[in-house]
Amino acid sequence: MTTAEKMELLAETLEVETDEISEDTALTDLDNWDSMTKLSLIVMFDDEFGKKITSEDIKKMVTVKDILDLME
């Protein structure tokens, strides 16, 4: 998956437009960085990458890049 494709998938999961986020975007700056969005992220990782991430993993994520790095 290319970086652009990852950004598109992530934007869909976070329910934002792709041009609203960049690698440096702080997750806490997103309006809807709430428990439902975090859960969506867990399910997306399982569906798209076969990866089981936990709420502990999400706690360590600070920027969009932290998520992108795990998307492989």
Partner: protein, 253 residues
């Protein structure tokens, strides 16, 4: 000593028998004299569960219940090798925590197939001639989620509500054949699904509220197994079409 839940000589088919409540039920049934037939996907864990059974005459089969269309041949084979059943416990089940936007038909179907379709299909196949003995008792492991909704739990709650509804219908339909059908509805019990819940939402406000309401704490698999063996036994001969809550007080608060 008089034992009201004596299961001596009864043959009980148990799905999801390699872990959690299914495994605990299998062990308890064996202690009460039953011959148990364990079904689950993972052969290694099935063997481990088998090694904990008391008595002899038990058997295990590795089978993936999501292959609903293959259940008919599978049950035929089990019955031809083991003989008729006196009880069936459906403990196989998967948890599902999905926001609506990620609840595509494939995800919904997977949960329904394992938690619900396989339950009805196994009963359908067991109701054939020589596959069951008069007095058979069927117990589905449902959940209080069948009665309480929660965000992201659409598939799981629906699968359990479907089981409850089927229990009421099948109990009436099979009464003439002297077969009883019931469900047990546990709240949070220490199983893998509970661990999933902790991983996904363990620290949410919602999780804290749930734990406050379930004021006897987290249940143990044996708490559910105890009720299941009662429903399997003749002591429960007047109970059919019931969905019994085992919830540490949760629905009362």
């Amino acid at each position: 000593m008089y034992n009201i839940v004596d299961l001596t000589g009864r043959q009980i088919l148990i799905t999801g028998a390699s872990s959690g409540m299914g495994r605990e039920t299998a062990i308890l049934c064996s202690k009460l004299g039953a011959k148990v037939v364990l079904v689950a996907r993972n052969e290694v864990r099935l063997q481990e569960a088998m090694s904990n059974l008391e008595g002899d005459g038990h058997a295990y089969y590795s089978f993936d219940l999501s292959k609903v269309d293959e259940i008919e041949d599978f049950i035929k084979m089990v019955v031809s090798e083991r003989g008729a059943m006196d009880g069936f416990v459906h403990s196989a089940g998967v948890g599902s925590t999905r926001p609506l936007k990620l609840l595509k038909p494939a995800a919904l179907r997977e949960v329904m197939e394992i938690n619900y379709f396989s339950f009805v299909e196994i009963i359908r196949c067991l109701m054939k001639k020589n596959a069951y003995n008069e007095g058979m008792s069927i117990v589905g492991i449902s959940s209080i989620s069948s009665k309480q909704g929660n965000q992201t739990k659409t598939a799981y709650c629906a699968s359990k509500s479907a089981m409850d509804a089927s229990v009421r219908c099948l109990a009436k339909e099979l009464a003439d054949k002297k077969v009883r059908v019931n469900a047990v509805n546990p709240a949070l019990i220490k199983t893998e699904i509970y661990q999933q819940f902790l991983n996904n939402s363990g620290e949410s406000e919602d999780a804290k509220n749930i734990m406050q309401r379930q004021y006897l704490g987290i249940g143990e698999p044996i708490d559910v197994a105890n009720m299941i063996v009662y429903l399997l036994s003749d002591a429960a001969k007047f109970i059919t079409g019931s969905c019994v809550d085992i919830d540490g007080g949760r629905l009362s608060s």
